[in-house]
């Protein structure tokens, strides 16, 4: 592998987006090329800086209250059974734009009406039978074939956002099935990313539980609250200490495990407080 090739895929390699064979080629190149290896180190260094970023975000209880007050009058449109199935079929197989079920039905009736009218007033040698709704539904493109959808997607770039996102969801599920995940790990996740993800999960859980505990705190007596706060403070020190070690050695499994165990203990204590 040459350096210019390495540099063009360096970020994708760091982001864990390359296939195994490409990863191996990159890794072999880094062994022989100090310059490219340095670029990778710089990228990792940047990643560590961003790891230290903690946005000052708090989910206040009022936020749910505001969401709830707005949705209390809304109800998600309930499934209308056959109409929804028809809509889904048309969207999937004929790439029809996303419109409401009734509009879809209306469009179909208009289409039938026009067809009947056309057939009635224009003569053909072999007069074809009236196209019925039932017959219409029998003629379908092959369902869920990726190449058909890709062709539709190519021509439909100008169509609405919702159509695009619907097709892309499908394409993703097809492409994900075709990837063989030998380790049952999310494709494209490096150990660093997974550890970061794990840490974010714990932080999210801790934030959520902390809010719940704060709401319930008045139910606990003062000595209990004090004891639990001391426990939490001690765990927070463990988290801080182990986190420092992991920041220095992000690929050390033992250090990572100590840090995640510390987070896990905090989650356990908070759950215990919530449960009281």
């Amino acid at each position: 592998m040459k350096c210019d090739q390495c540099r063009s895929t360096l970020e994708a390699y760091y982001d864990g987006e390359l296939e195994d064979e490409a990863n191996l080629k990159m890794a072999l190149h880094f062994e022989d090329c100090a310059a490219c290896a340095l670029l990778l180190q710089e990228l990792k260094g940047e990643g560590e800086v961003y790891l230290g970023y903690e946005p000052p975000v708090e989910i206040k209880p009022e936020l749910w209250a505001m969401v709830q007050s707005r949705i209390v009058e809304k109800r998600p449109a309930l499934s209308t059974g056959g109409l929804d199935r028809l809509q889904t079929w048309l969207r999937t197989n004929l790439a029809m734009p996303r419109v409401s079920g009734w509009a879809t039905a209306a469009l179909i009736l208009v289409a039938i009406g026009l067809t009947v009218t056309f057939m009635k007033y224009v003569r053909f040698e072999d007069e074809p039978p009236v196209v019925s709704f039932a017959q219409l539904s029998k003629h379908s493109l092959p369902a869920q074939k990726p190449n058909v959808l890709e062709k539709i997607t190519e021509g439909d770039n100008s169509k609405g956002e919702k159509l695009k996102s619907g097709l892309k969801v499908h394409q993703t599920s097809v492409s994900n099935r075709s990837k063989t995940a030998s380790r049952a790990v999310k494709p494209g996740h490096t150990p660093d990313q997974l550890v970061r993800e794990a840490e974010q999960k714990y932080l999210a859980a801790i934030a959520m539980l902390t809010r719940t505990v704060e709401r319930k705190q008045t139910r606990l007596d003062a000595p209990t609250v004090s004891r639990l706060e001391q426990t939490l403070a001690s765990i927070d020190r463990s988290i801080a200490d182990t986190r420092k070690v992991v920041q220095k050695h992000p690929s050390d499994p033992v250090a990572v495990q100590y840090m995640l165990n510390a987070y896990s203990r905090k989650v356990d204590v908070l759950r215990e407080m919530v449960g009281r």
Binding site: P56, I71, K168, I206
Partner: protein
């Protein structure tokens, strides 16, 4: 409805506190329940995803008050459009897609009314809230520098960067959330990294 499912079990000898074969709600069921108008189920979904969505919107707009509004709008729209979600395992990606659209509409409306307030973003940083110990560990200086640098990025670049670096999304997930092509995602990410590197060079050089 949630409570009814929670206690779908047999009582032992009529005793209220003893049950057998307890079967309780699972996450996929919450989405199905929320689709039928069950607010409690939707609240549980909110509890799980509110923070990541708000972090995402905050990273894009740089202001806590605005991020809160946009997060609220995201969940209201998600509730209204739950029937559009075909694959429950893709709920997170779908939700972030809504969040991204909500942010984009807000930015457009701000541009029309006279520009994004960068100073507001900085001021917000100076009044950042006390939160978990992780927040204290991070250091406010770095937080502030990153937020200011983020806000100075071009909008598309900011979205892609925030999703990749702070949300840990894969390229494909970013494609689904933003509607960009894969090539655009890679290009914007590369340029975003370069821009951030330039703006944060003081922090990066000290490592």
């Amino acid at each position: 409805m949630i409570d009814r499912l929670a206690l779908n079990s047999d009582r032992i000898n009529g005793r209220e506190d003893l049950h057998t074969g307890v079967v309780l709600n699972s996450a996929p069921e919450l989405i199905a329940q929320a689709r039928t108008g069950d607010h409690e189920a939707f609240r549980l979904l909110f509890e799980r995803y509110a923070r990541p969505v708000m972090v995402f919107t905050y990273n894009l707009v740089g202001r806590h008050d605005v991020a809160e509004e946009l997060t609220q709008e995201t969940f209201v729209r998600a509730y209204s459009n739950l029937k559009e979600l075909r694959d429950e395992t893709k709920f997170s990606t779908w939700l972030f897609g809504i969040g991204r659209n909500v942010v984009r509409e807000w930015i457009r409306s701000r541009v029309r009314s006279g520009g994004i307030d960068l100073a507001g973003a900085v001021a917000d940083q100076e009044q950042s809230l006390e939160l978990s110990p992780a927040d204290q560990l991070a250091g406010k200086e770095l937080n502030r520098a990153i937020i200011v640098a983020l806000q100075s990025l071009d909008e598309d670049r900011r979205v892609v960067f925030a999703l990749k670096i702070f949300n840990g999304s894969s390229y494909q997930e970013i494609v689904e959330i933003t509607g960009f092509t894969l090539a655009k995602v890679k290009t914007e990410l590369h340029r975003a990294r370069a821009d951030m590197r330039h703006r944060l060079r003081g922090y990066l050089e000290n490592r």
